[in-house]
Amino acid sequence: MKDKTSKKAKTDEISATIKVDALARIEGEAAFTVKIKDSKVIDAKLRVFEPPRFFEAFLRGRRYHEAPDITSRICGICPIAYQMSSIHAMESAFAVKVSPQIRELRRLFYCGEWIESHALHIFMLHAPDFLGYEDTIQLAKDHPDVVKMALDIKKLGNDIVKLLGAREIHPLSACVGGFYKVPTKKALQPLIERLRWAIEASVKTVKFTSQLTFPDLEKDYEFVSLRHPNEYPLCEGRIVSSKGLDIAVSEYEDYFEEEHVKQSTSLHSFIKGRGEYLVGPLARFNLNFDKLTPRAQAEAKAVGLMPPCKNNFKSIIVRAVELLYACEEALRIIEGYEMPEPSRVEVHPIGTIGHGATEAPRGILYHRYTLDERGTIRSAKIVPPTSQNQKIIEKDLTDFVSKNLTLPKEKLGWQCEQLIRNYDPCISCSCHFLKLNVEEQ
């Protein structure tokens, strides 16, 4: 990583540009630039260099049942999120009703992705920032037990995905209507002991992350997440916000809009008439604390984490709480599992529009498809969580640098990177996403 930083004394005013040309420990290619003039941040930009891949364009003309496999290729880190959002969009379009057993199995599948993704982000991408390591391999030299535990948790998440979907990356069992094949009750049994272990490991993770030092950046964010009457949101729910939004998924585009800005191949989202908002673990936690398991609630409380938490640096603790939740939820599903029969229901395409939104590890992932009577996709729209967070990341950079102008530039630059990683940005997802620059004036 190149870090060009400089500081020029002009009387007592600070003018500088903090710049990182290739952000590390994120999924994809991006950079950031923060320009400071006369002790004021005049510009903060997150630039996305990820080459555009045009998924929405080449989905046109494909059949509805191809969408889960094709869209999963947008992101190797959260393929299940893409599969689930596209499947739910198609099922809402064709009014497909799946059995409760299939619904449960989808939650288990998604829990696997959350466990894998959260363990990866907490320990391999984010914790090194808090502890001053360049990467997890260096972290492993001083804290081998922590990294070993992290890898074991991550592997468990991957194994859940693999058991249901045949492989960890771009699994292949999920389809519109259910699954091509479902596991037997017996096949899931070996996961039980490992999940019991992972629940305790997650509790340790909550404690471990809560003892980190958090830069001070409390903000009055508008949090947006799904909310379901009976469960912590994964696949279904209404879209709600901390400032009173409460809409059906199908109304998404009436309230949210995307704009195309120059520095980015990713589109930036905002709430019409209001502006930027935050999606992801912090939003889910603040809006759905009451739906966490009693244990997850208690462990959060025990480390002083209560909604509303307004410091997104603490999202690392929230991810640990969600990790605990996902392990408990996976265990609950496996213990009550009955094999769905049949594994998938028949689907009858009609010409219509379908909407789907699910909670990817990084936040809401919205899909919309216009379909003809054969089930051929006529148009597609995909809004990944990282596009939705892009505006708020730039706002955070401005606010954070403004408050910390006197920090040594190397430290400030690194903390800006850490701030960006609070969002677990996925540049490949936003297709489109991230690079950090602080520029001299």
Partner: protein, 259 residues
């Protein structure tokens, strides 16, 4: 192994989903052992520490889609003793090579409000179309054990043991019942290179070609069989046009049905 003798390995990303390089981090049981044998000199997804080239091994993920990336891959080549492509994007152009069959300008205006902000090439090309490549590892995504095999082979100066036969062979070894023969399900297995472990037929579905064309594939014969199974022309075009659409045997076969 002495510290200074550890081979320097770099990981580079072009247009891709990150999944293939994630395979390296998914080697939970092997990660620390592998990291002990090599010096990870450039792996942005995992580390902010960067060691300058030259590198002994460069693992390249993604396809070439922008003018800037043409320059970048040439720099990677110059700095690398061995250049290994990992995955369908780097080896065949990836799913984003579907643009190669269309006018890319229409694609840009379909996705972006300001086409003037977008810099992209008309074609998404594999790495080998731009620079010399020492080994191509197939898959969407790659098989992580094949990746470890390639790294180990290079570290020991031997040829990687990666079979080029079809998925059918793996499928038979696994004892699967043929989905095409028994259920009439269309399957690309006969023309697709092995490596995944024949996963799809074991999951009641046909192979959809993640590992690209095998050596000397008989696509014409397979397409005839697809027609017999009731597949229409556009169905046949679409089955060849996914993650390895621009690999020559698949490209030619799909184009034959466009006429």
């Amino acid at each position: 192994m002495a510290q200074h003798k550890k081979p320097k390995v770099a990981v580079w990303k072009f247009a891709s989903c990150d999944g293939c390089q994630l395979s390296l981090l998914d080697c939970e049981d092997e990660l620390l052992a592998v990291a002990g044998e090599i010096q990870i000199a450039n792996f942005l997804e995992a580390s902010r520490a960067v060691v300058n080239g030259p590198y002994d091994v460069s693992l390249v993920e993604g396809s070439i889609t922008t003018p800037h990336d043409i320059v970048r891959i040439q720099q990677v080549r110059k700095q690398s003793k061995y250049l290994i492509t990992i995955g369908a994007c780097a080896t065949a152009g990836g799913i984003q090579a579907l643009r190669n069959f269309k006018n890319v300008k229409d694609y840009i205006t379909a996705v972006y409000a300001h086409p003037e902000y977008i810099e992209t090439l008309a074609l998404s090309t594999p790495i080998a179309a731009n620079v010399e490549v020492d080994f191509e590892l197939r898959g969407c995504p790659i098989n992580k054990y094949q990746l470890i095999e390639v790294i180990c082979a290079l570290l020991n100066n031997r040829k990687p043991n990666i079979p080029k036969y079809s998925v059918c062979l793996e499928c038979k070894q696994n004892g699967n019942v043929c989905v095409m023969v028994a259920q009439g399900v269309s399957c690309l297995g006969p023309v697709t290179q092995a490596g995944c472990g024949a996963l799809c037929p074991a999951y009641n579905r046909g192979c959809f070609g993640c590992f690209g064309p095998k050596e000397t594939p008989n696509t014409i014969s397979l397409s005839n069989r697809f027609s017999d199974l009731g597949m229409k022309k556009d169905d046949i075009i679409r089955i060849y046009r996914t993650y390895n659409a621009f690999a020559e045997p698949f490209r030619k076969e799909s184009e034959a049905y466009e006429r």
